[in-house]
Symmetry: C2
Subunit: 138 residues, 2 copies
Amino acid sequence: MTEMISGLTSVQEDYLETIYRLTIERKVARNKEIAEALNVKTATVTGAVQHLAEIGYVNYESHGYVTLTDIGVKLAKELLERHQLFYLFFHDILGLEEKVADEVACRTEHHITGEPYRRFRDLVTHFQNCTHPSKYQR
Amino acid sequence: MTEMISGLTSVQEDYLETIYRLTIERKVARNKEIAEALNVKTATVTGAVQHLAEIGYVNYESHGYVTLTDIGVKLAKELLERHQLFYLFFHDILGLEEKVADEVACRTEHHITGEPYRRFRDLVTHFQNCTHPSKYQR
DNA sequence: TTGACAAGTTAGGCCCGGCTAACTATATTC
DNA sequence: GAATATAGTTAGCCGGGCCTAACTTGTCAA
């Protein structure tokens, strides 16, 4: 419900990111794969993707493959970039296990954006260059 | 919609935190004040608070003041603690202006919890003790 | 004390994001 | 090429969270 900076909800952002990942990993994104990735039913995906098509983020043909529009790709890339940075922070710097780090990155990526994100990113980069991680892991 | 670790939605968590703050600042939380704090209408607050009462987080009497139950207070305190830590991080360490730091803390507090939160907290504490903040502000 | 204003509630509507059940379309396999 | 299995869609439901409009309750001042 609550809108993100992008104008989409965090759930809609999750769909975009998932579709982007699938098109990279498997060349193509299909309804069923999206459903599995997001842990929802295929009927739910149909509705969500139709709506994202109406507002211009995905290309959608009935019973066909789902692809992102240009603005869809742009947003998905940003999300993925943020996801990766948060994963790196929680996994490599704070030392959380992969699954946990990924989960928390999944949530965080929607909420830390813009200038706060950029500052955070610069801090993380600084860390990587200058500090021994284990120092912060207990 | 999406449930947090607490079993509540992030919006419900916001209500609890707001009620807690108001009871501290003004001794008492009233419908109108909650509405103003959360930027919603009073009718919306009525519904939300009734539901929170049903599930045991607030004490609610019609046309009376709203207070938190014991579990409500417990959760609200956790939220406030997280909020304050994230505010400290974004404001004091990353150097964002107050309003921006507060907004991003408001969002983040719902999503970084449990072990990830504790590790993050330890990192921030470490920062405060050992590092000159300005170093990370550009 | 009563009349006006402020505060709170109820009713009803809308959207999002889930679900199931039933249907249709596509693929596969014989 | 027909039968079956799989994938995708549609319809209809529910709950949360917001709104407005209309009503009720409470408060305060003349």
